[in-house]
């Protein structure tokens, strides 16, 4: 559905400063004191306010998993969280996982197994895959598929994504 300007919104809502909330977020171990519109999702806050664009916006409705981040060590959809409600939580994004020169073993496994095509879903896939390592996921490929079902890959790189995760699990 296309963006619509909501005429019902109070005039004050268009005022830049009116109704802003003071929120302190902890992202990748760094604290950020922010003034945000209460409507700001964690996803938009990461991308638009903090310019951490590794976390992707796919469907924006919790259906595709491209925006997966870790909140207090567990994976969640950043698009369905209000940033203001995440104060006091520890948030980790793909930017907090490895660096280009020193990849996390899961990132290296995605490279090694060619587990992506266009790459748009990849940061979400990797954040989910990392979380999976600490979840009660069985050993089989089917178990991995079930645990990864919240991450959609439009290119259909699923076979190699499963291979990459199993490869990384075998190493850890």
């Amino acid at each position: 559905m296309s963006e619509q300007i909501d005429e019902r919104a109070a005039p004050g809502a268009r005022d830049e400063d009116e109704g802003r909330l003071a929120v302190t977020l902890s992202i990748n171990g760094q604290r950020h004191a922010l003034q945000i519109d209460p409507r700001t999702t964690l996803l938009d806050c990461l991308r638009e306010t903090l310019h951490l664009t590794g976390t992707k916006k796919g469907c924006d409705h919790g259906q595709c998993g491209a925006c997966t981040v870790h909140v207090n060590g567990r994976r969640q959809n950043a698009c369905l969280a209000l940033a203001a409600a995440r104060e006091g939580d520890e948030i980790v994004t793909i930017e907090g996982v490895g660096t280009p020169g020193q990849l996390h073993p899961m990132q290296a496994a995605f490279l090694e197994k060619d587990a992506y095509q266009c790459g748009f879903c990849t940061s979400g896939q990797i954040m989910s895959a990392l979380a999976l390592l600490n979840e009660p996921c069985g050993a089989s490929d089917d178990d991995v598929r079930e645990f990864m079902s919240g991450n959609i890959c439009r290119c259909g790189a699923y076979a190699n994504i499963v291979a990459a995760i199993q490869h990384a699990r075998g190493q850890s």
């Binding site: 919790g62 909140v71 209000l82 989910s128 919240g150």
Partner: protein
């Protein structure tokens, strides 16, 4: 998304006082509680929900899961679905609940979604979610686009000429089979609502989905002590193997003593305007020896009042088979 005031109340009393200002706790509420946000924010983005105030209830200490002295289980309103599904007591003694939760949504969503939010999740009917189309649930009096429209996923039990929406929850189906009691705190004090009396049938007011009144906050859900010797299952049939809503599901719990079924409880999902409990069909099995023909009779009883729409008639036979298969599983 329409703008709103974001409130972070210090305690439940402040949250209740804030929400009591809404003219309704149902569709059109001007104040909404925010827990996991997985339903509310989705619907706010779609314009289906447009509260003036959003009240964060995540810091009110309502997240615990505890065994009670009488053997029952107290489940906090903001306990996360993942925590509930993986709780050792739930896995061991309320297995159908654990499996039902894990059969729904994705890990990411279950890590955010809560007990009360899951109970209150809204239908996935396409027309309810699309503000460009008539929908009596979203806008009373505008008509039902699903009758004669895309209704393959929708209900065959408990529908009305005004609404054929399905309740989409897996968790609530299992809670129905376990006789959950919903504990509510409101401006008038506390009350307890058995889950069988919590959801309203659509009738001519499909915008009213449950018995909650303005300001009423679900604080926790209580499950009675588990039936001794009962075996339980949750069987979910759907278009995809994972991350898909049920076409049909069944939560069953049966105890067999001396070759006879001494406790029988089951509920169906995906087919009803609310999670569908089946007392008459359960009674038909009580005291009997497990038997396929008997299961089939119970399934016929369970679906006796079903009314198919243009695209979902297949659900009636699918539901019968789902129930029979689940009963077989737990009595084999």
């Amino acid at each position: 998304m329409r703008t709103f005031e974001f409130l972070r109340p210090a305690d439940a009393a402040a949250a209740i006082a804030a929400a009591a200002l809404s003219p309704t706790a149902q569709q059109g509420a001007s104040v909404r509680f925010l827990a996991g946000g997985t339903t509310l924010l989705d619907l706010m983005k779609l314009g289906v929900e447009a509260p003036d105030r959003v009240v964060d209830i995540n810091r009110l200490g309502l997240g615990g899961i505890e065994r009670e002295a009488d053997g029952g289980l107290r489940i906090g309103a903001t306990a996360r679905n993942s925590d509930l599904a993986h709780h050792p007591v739930v896995r061991a003694e309320y297995a159908a609940l654990s499996r039902a939760i894990l059969a729904g949504a994705s890990t990411q969503l279950r890590n955010a979604a809560t007990t009360a939010g899951n109970l209150l999740q809204r239908t996935r009917c396409l027309y309810f979610r699309d503000t460009a189309t008539p929908c009596n649930k979203r806008e009373p009096g505008t008509g039902c686009s699903a009758i004669g429209g895309a209704n393959r996923m929708l209900a065959v039990l408990g529908t009305s000429e005004h609404c054929i929406a399905t309740n989409p929850s897996d968790m609530a189906v299992a809670m129905m089979a376990y006789d959950a009691v919903i504990h509510v705190q409101g401006p008038q004090g506390e009350r307890q609502v058995p889950i069988a009396a919590f959801y309203l049938l659509p009738g001519d007011r499909p915008d009213r989905e449950n018995v909650l009144e303005p300001g009423e906050l679900v604080t926790h859900v209580r499950l009675p002590a588990p039936e001794r010797g009962a075996r339980a299952a949750y069987l979910k049939l759907r278009d995809r193997a994972s991350y898909e809503f049920a076409l049909v599901s069944a939560a069953v719990s049966v105890a067999v003593t001396g070759g006879r079924m001494t406790a029988v409880r089951f509920a169906l999902g995906g087919v009803g305007a609310r999670p569908w409990r089946l007392p008459a069909a359960e009674a038909a099995l009580l005291g009997q020896a497990p038997d396929d023909a008997l299961f089939r009779q119970a399934a016929d009883l369970a679906l006796a009042g079903a009314r198919p729409q243009s695209q979902n008639g297949f659900k009636i036979e699918l539901a019968r088979r789902c129930l029979v298969h689940a009963l077989r599983q737990v009595t084999a």
